[in-house]
Amino acid sequence: MNRVLPVLTILVLIIAVWYAAAILMNAPWQNTLNGRANLTDVPFHTFAQQTWAQDKPILPAPHQVVSEIWNGTVALEITSRRSLAYHGWITLSATLLGFAFGTGLGVLLAVAIIHNDASDRSLMPWIIASQTVPIVAVAPMLVVGLNAVGLTGLVPKALISMYLSFFPVVVGMVKGLRSPEGIQLDLLRTYDANSWQVFWKLRWPAAMPFLFASMKVGIAISLIGAIVAELSNTAGGGLGVRLLTGSVNGQTIQIWAALFIAAGLAAVLVALVGSAERAVNRRMGVRA
């Protein structure tokens, strides 16, 4: 209760502000409409309701978004092309595949970096620079380029997800694999442990907290990657395509609904990584 109440308060506050903002932002257009229909002296509460019920509002009211989500998920068959669950699933599969690629690549690079000085020096600056490349700009070309070598569908999206999500994993894992203190490494040296043993008995377990912290960031970024990729790859649908077509057709409610589904997806994914983390922590005896 102690934790729920403050969150609820803030949520209620946000929703209230949102409704108010919807009136304000949709008012000019509503005035035009009413003017055109020769409606004058509309009482405020009617006017408010009008602004909350526009077809293509500048800011849809919360209940409009909720009902769009409801209509797009529960009220539809899951296989329907209009189903948001269907589009969510498409984005999710690209996200998960990209996340798996990204985590794998990130860990591999981190292992290379901590074991090889030359890799450390030559790779690190470019890894940082890679993230300053606007992937949204490269994505369309990448999709076409991969298409040229016969890769279509899920894989190009997953590769873009990977491009974004490997970064936090490399950075975190380099930190994590280097986190054992000198004395812990010295201990293994006194046992004449080989580097394989040093890795599995010391570096890897020591890096676990860093891995999970990175994966939480990574999975959220993977989702962004999948959405960005879908902006450049409309075939097959997905939440990004819903965002795009919503934007193309001026369907604001559709944009917001896609956005909220994406947000929910991100929250669930991060929570899943979090529970995996807790499970591993329990097995590793981390203090609760």
């Binding site: 257009w29 035009t32 409409l33 055109r36 293509k56 500048i58 329907s80 092309r81 209009r82 189903s83 269907y86 589009h87 994505a139 369309p140 070309m141 999709v143 076409v144 380029g145 298409n147 040229a148 279509t152 902006l231 450049s232 790859n233 409309t234 075939a235 097959g236 649908g237 395509v241 819903r242 795009l244 077509t245 919503g246 934007s247 193309v248 057709n249 001026g250 369907q251 559709q254």
Partner: protein
Amino acid sequence: ADALTLQLKWVTQAQFAGYLVAEAKGFYDEEDLDITILPGGPNIAPEQVIAGGGADIIVTWMAAGLAARDTGVPLVNIAQPFKRSGLMMICPTESEVTEVADFPGKTLGVWFFGNEYPFFAWMNKEGIATDGSDGGVTVLQQSFDIQPMIQGQADCISVMTYNEYGQALDAGYGPENLTIFNYTEMGNDLLEDGLYVLEDSLDDPAKVDAYTRFVRASMKGWAYALENPEEAAEIVVESDETGAAELDHQLYMVGEVSKLVDADDPALDMATYDRTVKALIDQEIIGAEPEGAYTTVVTDALN
């Protein structure tokens, strides 16, 4: 069956009804073709897709096609179902634009991504500067809807007769509170949706034959769509994988598109072709008169 991939210029909508109907009604199957139709979008350049081998045939506007040819993608027009342009510029009365002379100092919304050539050709012809200098117009990269007009961010916006104009009508705009500049009526129209392939593929008679059957089936699709607008609109909605297409709007679009398409004759109209080429050369978008940018082998073989 011969497998061909068609890359559309835009998202799945009735602008491409002929192809979607041909696919849905089995006209391609009848011609022993296996067609994959790829939707496009604001970040997809069909010219690039075909250059990368991702498609065999693309739908694009002639100006963009010729410009691509100039940059080294040897595109060749094999058929031109769209005879007229659906492009317009509309200005609400508040903008106080009633004629071209009112443009200087105004902000105009224009679509880029290969759609900008007709506008610049028009301005070029009128002698109106577009580079932000005094006495010229301010150009906005317009989103693909009418929001900029509703919100007053632009004085005039670009619309297609079959799409955004319908949105404007829905939003309560109409001829009575709009000034409309129709590119076709002004004689400024450049050719729009045509079918393009890569030049070297035309050396292969089997390919040419497949293209011919493709165009024949597609035109059959167009004819069917124009005769049965309701069914065509339903097919479009059904074909849209994103679930964003709305039946009413697609029906409107079929109706408007029917005014632009000649379902009986997909051959290139040379007068408009010449105008398009001249406009591009005037603007220095292409360097010289293109050679071999179109072929009549396919349309000739149809009959």
